[in-house]
Amino acid sequence: MRQAPLWRRYDRLSGSDPAADVKDELRFHLESKVDDLVAKGWRPKDARQEAERQFGDILAVQRMGERIGEHMDRRRHLTDYWADALQDLRFTLRTLRLDTGFAVVAILILALGIGANITVFSVVNTILLRPLQFPNPQQLVRIVEKDAKSNESGKTYTADATQDFQQQNRSFQSVSGYFAFTGPNNFKLSGNGQPMPATGMLVAEGFFETLGVAPAAGRLFRHEEFIHHAQTAALLSYPYWKSQFKGDRNIIGQTVDLSDKVDLNNKSVVVVGVLPETFDFGAVFSPGAKVDLFVPYIMDDFRGDGNDLALVGRLKPGISIAQAQNEADTLFPQFYFEHKHPEYGKGYTGKLTDLKQYVSGKLGRSLIVLWCAVCLILLIVCVNLSNLLLARAAARNREFAMRCALGARRSRILRQLLTESLVLAISGASPGPFSLGLSIRARSHSRCSTWYASTEQSWPGRWSSPSQPPFSSASHQLFACRAKTYRSLSKTEATEPARAAGMTASVPYS
């Protein structure tokens, strides 16, 4: 084989062309054959025909060649591409190692911006975007009083009014509620050894059934457990069961000592079941709250205590919220505050809101503001970083000039720079989730920031409601320091003689 002349090298200047290659190769074959035949004494025209006859179906072979050629071409491109990428990567790592200061600063700013975004987004995702983790969530309705400016007692109902509504409504499959004034660590669990603080939520009969929550182990509460002086039962939340009882199934049916921190009465409580992992009371009813166990709300114990039940109901299939609202508008005004004391008056209102809307609506605007703020931070990070990169690029002018002189195309240099940016971005993004993202769990479930009533954005009874900055509720989860100032605030107010309802549980333990 002789070397091809120089001009041949420019044959495929515009890139390889497998189809043309195949054609050239086959044409060469035919021409050589014709030459041979002519040399043997054939006439050129006959020779050509004979050569083609011998070859057979030249088009089919050609098509096959094109297919194989394209396949090889693609593979070659891919190999080249990855080889180049690897080379770029090695080069990037080398230059970043030489310029450690730049690399560290860039990665740190990125990690900060991305981490903050991840943190806020995970809250936004839980509260605004993700549907509720209950079956047929569109049937679930939160019932509060219509007066929007009313405080927490204005959003809750007395035991009597609740029972009236449960009995008289025709739109709901079931209506239940929870005690709205529970504070963090309102119980003490004394097992073997040191008594441990625990947060217990009082829930009315049928609460879990209304939501459609089935126990992960054991059973839910029974009717007789909601009767005055009944043997107290408790349901454990899944994380509490895992952490406190190490996921021991034998705990079900056993009694534990649980003391109410207020009256310090030691009660032996039977653990009847464990709630599923997917059920997070806090995520739905009071963002940021961590509830360890649930105990029955016994109506008879609370009849004289005023408004303290936050209601939630499940609509009958086919009943719209508007229909139920109509009914509620006629029913609620007739309800007495207390049957025993009709002189206290009557006349509630009821506003029905889709539970998901209620959950997100409460925090929606503040969360979006927070989200925007964090996005702005990310934007600033990007501007910052691009400034840094720009300065670096200016300093590297010579390097690029050299590469251009050596024959690198613009696209090749661009790719190199993109690889560098990609390396920075990835190394900036990876510590994000680890450092800041992990803190979400700690923050959102930290005890000091747990104030159930506060997430309802107001305070019970005659308390003046502390004025709140627009996103204080969301910030509860994110910035524990806010929760601290908040707590000192509530402490001072707690000295006021307040309605019995929520105070007992929530006040003194801030």
Binding site: M1, A4, F28, G56, V61, M64, G65, I68, G69, M72
Partner: protein
Amino acid sequence: MEQTRLELVRGTLDILILKSLIWGPLHGYAITGLIRRHSEDALLVEEGTLYPALWRLESKGLLEAEWGLSENNRKAKFYRLTTEGRRQLRQEVKIWEAYAAAVTKVLGATRPRLPEEMV
């Protein structure tokens, strides 16, 4: 002269191609010629099967192709064995020899004597 034209046994084309490239790069037409000459005109490789086989071997990495000029000054695609191709050839030659020897033995066997004749 009566000439025997043999159909290629399946799978032998690859080994023939690899073998014919062992002395240096060749283009497709030269490969047909070489195989025909070495088999003393007994084996005739059809072009319709030769080229796809060449391309397949190339895509497997057993051959490498390069454009060059043929002896009659035409642009032609020359194939060359890669290291991988040489290794493959050695292996396949061994297998082929064992196979051919076995087939020959069976075909060359004489009729075994029947038991009654042995008496």
